[in-house]
Every structure is written in C-alpha cells, then in structure tokens.
C-alpha cells in the first residue's frame, strides 16, 4: 500500500515538473523584445535559404526517380571536407582583397563540381543497378550509401593537415576558417545583418533563379520534366533517360555543394556527423513544401530555418529537434503532399 502511494506521488510529481517547465518557456517567451525577434528571424532566414538549397537536391531526385536520397546530407558533409581541404592546401583564408573574393568563388565552384560528380557517381554505383527494384530496396541502398559517405568523412578528417588539426582525432569537429570578414554588413537598431547573411543571399538567390531557368526553359529541363512525368514515355520520345537522371543527380549535388560551403562559413565548424542533421533538415523542408516541387522546397527550407531559430530563441534549443521532427511526422501523416505539392494517389 505504502509503495503504491509512493508510486502515485512520484507520477504526479513528474507530471507537475514537466508542466512547470512548459510554463517557464511560455513566460520567458513573452518577455522577449522586438529586436530579439528580428535577429532570430534574420538567422532563421539565412539558415533557411541554405536548407532550401539542399532541399532542392532532395526534391529533384525524388521528383525524377521517387527516391529519398538519404545520402544527400552526407554528400554535403563530404563537400564541406573538400572545401576545408582546398582552403587548407592553398591557404585561401590568407588571401586578401580581390584575391579573397576570387578564392571564395573558387572554393564554391570547386566544391559544387566535386559534390555534383560524387552524387553522379553514387547514382551510377548504388542506385542505377536497382532501377527495376522496389522503392524500399532503393531506400535501403541509399541509407547504405549514406553510411559509406559518413565513414569516408571519418577517414578524411584524419588527414595530417593543419585545417584538420593534423588529424589528431579524425572524429572531432573541425573549425572552418572565416573567408568572410566578421564585421557586420549593416546594423539597424540592435539587429545585426552580418556579411555571411549577405553572402547566403548572394549565393542562394542567383542559383535558385538559374535553376528555375534551367528547368523551365532549356532542353535538359524539358527532358527532366518529361522523365519525371513518365520515364517510359520519355524514352520512347528519344530521351536518354539514364543521362537525364545522371544530370539531375549532378545538378542536385552541385547545389548541395554550394550550400555546404555557405553552411560551413555560416556555422564555422564541420564534423563528419553534420550530414545527418543537414540532410534531415533539408528533407523535412522538401516534405513540408511538397516533395518533388521546386518552389515548395524553397518555401519549406525557409519555414524550417525560421521555425528552428524561433524554437532556439523562444522555446529551448534542446527541444528544437523534437519540434522539427514533430512537424515532419504531422505532415507525413496528415498531409503527405506537403504545402504546395499536388495530391498524390498511390498506384495500385
């Protein structure tokens, strides 16, 4: 009897302590000022644009072969390691003035080319042999590819170079040197707009415009849309389906490459495990916007970025992942077509 009472008391106390904690979040949230809100919004928008760029890679691949390319986030992680290696080997962080800008552009383009080629190769090795297999086998293969990339990142981080802390611990996070000055670009009231915020905008917006042009108005874009709609029909019309799929992987991967450099500059640290979080954020963004839908991926990315930063600022950073994954589950269960996606009916 005594033990039952103790047990009941324990359960009641646990419930109360959780309720207290929730109440505390609410009170702290109400006390925050307008500036804090704007600052969080700026951070969220910047991160959101980066997430959006990665999400495009997910959504393009899903649109064309209905694969959740699980390895995409880890591809971006390897891209960050590639960028860090280039910066370290050439000493780009010591270039000044116009040279510094040139170096930054070079790192961006180089990483994009690297990620694009790597994504193309992954498709060739791990996904193309499974073209006729079920979606689930393809997904399992993608998860396998993701683990292989993580391990390559672990190896890479142990290179005896200064930027990798001479490889003393290959698993430890590495500092990414600042290629953009830390001085704020603008300050309005207490809200700081940093140069990296500006950089994010200067990299992501033109790329999104270019991609829209490519998909809408070029021959390759037309072929991509045709393959997405009906691969068999497209191949009967003389479209080389495998070439188009390869190109999609290359483009998606290279966008991820651009994004990962900006991400690393923005967050200033890279680790071999960062791909999982980057990938999940971007995938959730793609699903939120409606997977397979390019404007949807951008919208979803921005929303996830803002939600993350608001949750960091107003709730508590440790609950942010729970919030984001909660959104993912709710969307998948109640509106799997996302915000902008067309309603899909599963083929029988």
């Amino acid at each position: 009897m005594q033990r039952t009472v103790a047990a009941a008391e324990f359960l009641a106390a646990s419930a109360l302590s959780q309720a207290d904690a929730v109440g505390a979040f609410a009170r702290d949230g109400l006390l925050s000022s307008q500036e804090v809100f704007t600052q969080q919004l700026v951070t969220g928008l910047s991160n959101g644009m980066i997430i959006a760029l990665i999400a495009i890679g997910y959504t393009m691949v899903y649109g064309i072969i209905e694969l959740i390319n699980f390895a995409h986030g880890d591809l971006c992680m390897l891209g960050a390691y590639f960028a860090l290696t280039v910066v370290g080997a050439l000493g780009v962080d010591h270039w000044v003035g116009a040279g510094g800008l040139m170096g930054l552009v070079m790192v961006l383009v180089g990483t994009a080319a690297f990620c694009g080629s790597l994504n193309w190769s992954i498709n060739r090795l791990a996904y193309r042999p499974l073209r006729k297999a079920s979606k689930l086998s393809l997904l399992v293969s993608a998860i396998g590819a993701s683990f292989i990339l993580v391990n390559l990142g672990l190896f890479w981080g142990g290179l005896p170079m200064d930027v990798f802390a001479n490889g003393t611990s290959s698993a430890a996070p590495k500092a990414f040197p600042a290629l953009v000055s830390a001085a704020p670009a603008a300050q309005i009231g207490d809200v700081i707009y940093s140069r990296t915020d500006l950089l994010v905008l200067c990299v992501t917006l033109p790329l999104m415009v270019a991609l829209t042009y490519l998909v809408r108005f070029t021959k390759l874009g037309k072929a991509m849309r045709a393959v997405a709609q009906n691969p068999t029909g497209a191949s009967l019309m003389g479209i080389d389906v495998e070439r188009v799929i390869g190109a999609t992987f290359f483009i998606g991967g290279s966008l991820g490459g651009f994004a990962t450099v900006v991400y690393s500059l923005y967050n200033q640290t890279v680790s071999f495990q960062m791909g999982y979080r980057m990938g999940m954020d971007a995938f959730i963004a793609a699903v939120l916007g409606g997977i397979g839908n390019l404007p949807g991926a951008v919208l979803g990315g921005i929303l996830i970025g803002v939600i993350r930063s608001m949750s960091d600022g107003y709730l508590e950073a440790r609950w942010t992942n729970t919030v984001v994954f909660g959104i993912l589950i709710l969307i998948l269960v109640f509106r799997p077509s996302g915000l902008l996606g067309a309603k899909l009916r599963e083929k029988v």
Binding site: V140, G144, L149, G158, P160, M161, F283, L328, V333
Partner: protein, 378 residues
Amino acid sequence: MAISSKRITINLMLIAVVAIIPVVEKYVPLGWHISDPMTDVFVYAILGLGLNILTGFTGLLNLGVAAFAAIGAYVFAISTCEIYPFQLGFWSALGLTMAAGALAGFALGAPTLRVRGDYLAIVTLGFGEIVKDVLVNMDSITKGTQGINPLPPPTLFGTELSGNGQYWLFMGIVLVVVAGARRLERSRIGRGWISIREDELASRAMGIRPDHAKMLAFATCASLAALAGALTASRLSSSGEPGNYDFQISILALCIVIVGGLGSVRGVLLGALVMVGMNSIVLVKLTELIGGSDAAPASALADAHGVQWALLFIKTWAQNVLMSPTNWKFLVFGLALVLMMIFRPEGMLPARGTKEDAPDGDDGASGATAVANKELRP
C-alpha cells in the same frame, strides 16, 4: 510443412555448440572472451527478430526500432531502480516492459497506418529521434544523459545471475522468441502479415484486415525491441544514456535482418551473428592485434618535400586513421546494405517458400527466392 528429424538434429547440435561456448572458454585458453560479445549477439538477435516481424513479414520498413529498445530500457530501469518507488522484480519488470513496448508500438502504428512505404520509414526515423531527445530532455524523470543506475541483475527462481548464468538465460530467451516467431509465421496472423507484404489489396479482398494486422505487427516488433532494451539494461546495470539508442542501432538492426534474409527467422540469427560479430568481435580483435602503434606525429611533414612528402603524408594518415579497424564500422554497415540490395536482396539465408511453393518440405530455396524477389523486385 513437416520438419525432418535431420533438421531437428542439426538445430539441437547448433544449440548445443552455442551453449557450451562459455564452458569451453573456461578450460581452453582462447586468448579472448567470446561469451561477452555473444551475449550482445543474443540481444541483437531479439531486436532483429522483432524488426523482422514488421519489416520482414509485413513489409513495413522501420528505421526507428532503437527507440523501442530505449523505451524498454527506460521502463525497465524506472520500474526496478532503487531510486524510484516501484522496485519491481526482474521478471515482473520484464513483463511490464514488454507491455509498455507494445503500447508504444500501437501509439506509433495507429496514426501511421495510411502512410506510404518510404514515408513510413521516415516517420519511424523521426519517432526514433523524438524519443531519444525526449529521454534526454525530461531529465527530472530520466536523469538525462547520466542514464539510470544501478539496476538489479537478471534473476531466475530467486537467484541472481551473472556471467555464464546470464549467457544461458539470454540464450534461452532467444530460443523462446525464435520458437514464438516461427509459430507466428505459420499462424493465421503470420500468413496475414506475409500476404499484406505481397499484396495489400488482394489480402484485403481475402478477408484480412490490414489495419489490425499492421497494428499487431507494430506492437509485436516494439514489444520484442523493448525486451532487448530491458535485457541490455539489466546486463549493464544501467539504462545507458539516451544517445546510445540512436539511428546507428536502428540501422544495425536493419542490417541484421537484410543480411540474414528479410522474413527469414534463421536468417536473422545468422545476420545477428555476422553483423554484431563483425562489430564487437572482429573489429575489436583486429584493433587489439594492430593496436599499440602510437599516433604518428604530423610534424615530420614540415621537413619533407615532393614525393617523399606525399609518401609520408599517406603513411601518417594510414597509421593514424586507416589502421584503426573501429574506424571502418560505418563502412561495413553501408557496404553490407548496398551490396546486399544489388547482388542478393533475399539475404544469406532466404525465407522459406510457403507450403504451396515448396510442397516437399525441403529447404524450399526456389520458392523462397521467388518470395524474396517478389518482395524486393516487383
């Protein structure tokens, strides 16, 4: 399907061989302990058998099975640890754990019945992450990253078991679960699961209720995963930190099922032996064999030039990173998944064919391959 006496003999011999490992180890100096990692193999076999019911039989990919193990470990820990007021005995706590696991399975299964295959996989992944985070964050109950300890060891008829006793107890539990899984496989429920995997619409037309069957598969899977979590917690005398039950564990369980053979009970046992053996025996042993070489300093690189520099660079890198076998763990998992999917999607020991496919009660390899191919390559 009649089970031949030859088959029974082989099975009994295998069981006997596994059972005498701790005894042999005591008298024959092997140089290292194999019974400890073997206990891991047993726990992962239970986890794999649970996942096999959901992913192998029913065809629902679950990427968050570690979350159920975490729930199991924490329910077991809270109901037995001396700092909480419940302090149940080992077996009653185990029963409570399995019930809680089943409940968690229902909780995840019910809202996700209509979610499509690849989306379901992502929902389960998200569930896994949420459970892990909640366990860390609700530290007033779960002690956050410290984990809950000490926990009582497993008992049998009032005697506390340790070492070999635990080995045999866990082995016995695996045997019970295996027997249960095989009975289930051939029961009305099990055949219902398999028919849903093959064709949900057709099975509905045959009078099977896919919703009920899927919920039951979720609950069974979760319950067994919770059992695995509770057994580990009891063995280690600690729930461990929530971070231990991460995506990696879910993928290890998936590797076990896929390498062994989706839907094959024997396959899961072999898969657990191969994957966990690779992880906790081969890689660890290799590390011991190679180990002892100190990290090579990178400073020597500064004085070298040209080809000499390149060679030294590679040598330093290899010595610091590549020569440490535990660094290859993810590569092993990843390659296992990709290569199995491309070259042998039915696994090392494919599921048996159904009665109709293999009427002679033989291994039924041809029928099994057909089932596996249907499942993975429509």
